[in-house]
Symmetry: C2
Subunit: 405 residues, 2 copies
């Protein structure tokens, strides 16, 4: 008898029929004799509807009350799924995040899980129930309802798998697993059988929208092995786990393309200590997420200056330019250049660490396709380049073909 | 500074505009400096929608899960009302039934309140918040969500008023208060300024649908004085409280007509001990609510027999006839007569106790209108008669005119 934690997202429980499908799948596992804990999101559309009602009163409603409001979405799903299972003669009982013992800090709308006391879950499982837990939510130690923010239901599932020491954690979604590249960009993209936490993290942060980074980080921290798979078929998915020796035999695990970034360049930034920190602190204070940063050696001798380029999410450009403008006098740089017409192409693989020449090969492929590289950034297991947006899909295909084709 | 508990039902919070109206009203009290606790129901239609979804899985879903499901309705309203108040610069915070400390027994879908620990409410009030509590719900001491059944939000308000020792408890509804008669039947019906718990109970059980009996009983038990008034205007409502000396000066408080009952007569029931108890026990076992019962002296000498008539809710007739049929052989009565064409006309008033001739006057009025009385039943403060349905509205007007016109 195994203990399995399964998570189904909003599109998997979008309506009555989909909930029935999920119940069928859960019932299958249960009938094999496994203990099953199911984590569900709100039915697709419900959350947006609730947000719409709240915003009809004020543009930025209180986060405490938004948490009370939005948590009803998952609570509705858990009860409906329990009833769907009961209609199939499977004993089932639902728990809200609070009832499931999920204790968070008090940062409403993006709370962090502090600890889980899963006694109630064990109790219900031991009594023979499929136990259904509302994802995305918890409560503070003072008893206030909180939500975990984007990707919160994944986090609930992985945190529960850790707390329950589950044998298996399955994240059901609307894709078959993690691919070597986005199949919409590269038709020959292949599903990965397994991927390491670090590779998954790089892929997640690079625009492969399967999962939020925080859930993968949590899984890595607590060593929770999980599978990403589809709720629409029975294909095996992708196992995400700690890196193994054999993983290094594969140089590149995946290729990803992010078309949602913009590049900002500050020309002639004075090359003295503290300038970069000042700029990026101000951007961080305004909640602008800076991704790649490139600064080259300074030129000029009397007043050495350098060009500083960085990428941010496209929707943040206006806000970022405002922040930068306000610093113009204080820091004293020259022109500010903005380019929204870029794509960030990345290759990821733990195998890079033990294989040389990976970067050279990537640049060679791009040169062969006459793609100019504007920025380069590397980590131990990742190489990212910023290129022209119009060339980015073609370049992605070439790189995928060269390494994984 | 007073502490006021206000309750708003489903039609008062039916949509965003109505919720805004409620917020305006609450804000008015709050701005006067009063502490306000608001109890709300689910938005009209929400509960039915949730029930519909659950029933698409099975006709009789688990009551535990229905409670988890339905309690989201009030939880949605409390958050929206809190946000509406905040948009008017009124500090507000919401609490689910569980968070508000409402502890119930474990009878899902019709739980009884066992006790209330209102620390959290006091805490929020003391911090200057309008405190909004989800009506109709609580949790067991084991932490399971429960709902209180029909009229549950009224009960929440009255129980909170008792626990908080509130200065005032207001039940806002879509009528102006309690009337001497249904204004749709008797145009000259007048709103009562005050009514005793007992009169209110009789009126409630007689078809004046303002409130469920259980809430009035609870208020009587704990001496909670409350006002029934409209959420659509500023008219004063009806105060419901312990009987006072002056109340007795009024002979009749109200007249009510119930057209939803049917009469069943068992002809020739053997007049021996235990027969009636046997019949009514069987009906009770089938959850059939018997209202009036009339049995006259027996006739016949060798095998004394009597006719037994009683009234039940019309929708229960088929079920009742089934129960009676099954007892035919065992009890040995003659024909069974059913009459759905009846009206039950009642007059209520604590003043009856000290005034004689009330029944005589009522019967005289009915005789004058050529209305035949089929059954009579009396209590200390009530006289009910069963008459022909077609004559019932006319008779109600005559009686109202004679006593209250």
């Amino acid at each position: 008898m195994s203990l399995i934690v399964q998570k189904y997202g909003g599109s998997s429980v979008a309506d009555i029929d989909r909930i029935r499908n999920v119940a069928n799948r859960v019932a299958e596992y249960r009938r094999r004799g496994d203990q099953v804990v199911v984590v569900v999101s709100a039915m697709k559309g419900v959350t947006d509807n609730l947000i719409g009602m709240a915003k009809s009163f004020m543009p930025v409603p209180s986060e405490r009350e938004m948490d009370v409001l939005l948590s009803t979405g998952e609570q509705t799903t858990i009860a409906l799924l329990a009833i769907a299972l009961q209609s199939m003669d499977i004993s089932a009982a639902s728990l809200t995040g609070a009832q499931a013992g999920i204790v968070t800090d008090g940062v409403h709308s993006k709370a962090k899980i502090l600890n889980i006391t899963p006694e109630k879950i064990h109790e219900l499982l031991d009594a023979g129930n499929v136990t259904i837990v509302a994802g995305f939510q918890g409560q503070t130690s003072e008893g206030n309802i909180t939500t975990l923010g984007r990707g919160g239901s994944d986090l609930t599932a992985i945190a529960l798998a850790a707390a329950l020491e589950a044998d298996l954690c399955q994240i059901f979604t609307d894709v078959d697993g993690v691919y070597t590249c986005d199949p919409r960009v590269v038709e020959s993209a292949k599903k990965l059988e397994e991927v390491s936490y670090d590779e998954m993290l790089e892929l997640a942060s690079l625009g492969a929208k399967v999962m939020q980074s925080r859930s993968v980080e949590f899984a890595k921290k607590f060593g929770v092995i999980f599978e990403v798979r589809s709720s629409l078929n029975n294909n095996p998915g992708t196992i995400v786990k700690e890196e193994t020796k054999s993983m290094e035999d594969v140089v590149i695990r995946g290729v990803s393309l992010d078309k949602d970034q913009a590049k900002i360049t500050l020309v002639g930034v004075p090359d003295r200590p503290g300038v970069a920190s000042r700029i990026f602190q101000k951007l961080a204070d305004s909640a602008i997420n800076v991704d790649m940063i490139v600064q080259n050696i300074s030129h000029g001798t009397e007043t050495p200056a350098t060009d500083l380029s960085f990428t941010i999410d496209k929707p943040d450009v206006a806000k970022a330019l405002g922040v930068i403008d306000a610093m113009h006098e204080e820091v004293g740089f020259g022109n500010v250049l903005t380019d929204e017409n870029i794509g960030k192409l990345s290759i990821v693989g733990v195998g890079m660490r033990s294989h040389s020449g990976v970067a050279a090969k990537m640049f060679e492929v791009l040169a062969g396709a006459e793609v100019n590289i504007q920025m380069i950034s590397t980590s131990e297991i990742k190489i990212s380049v910023v290129i022209d947006l119009d060339q980015s899909e073609g370049a992605t295909k070439e790189v995928h073909n060269a390494f994984l084709g």
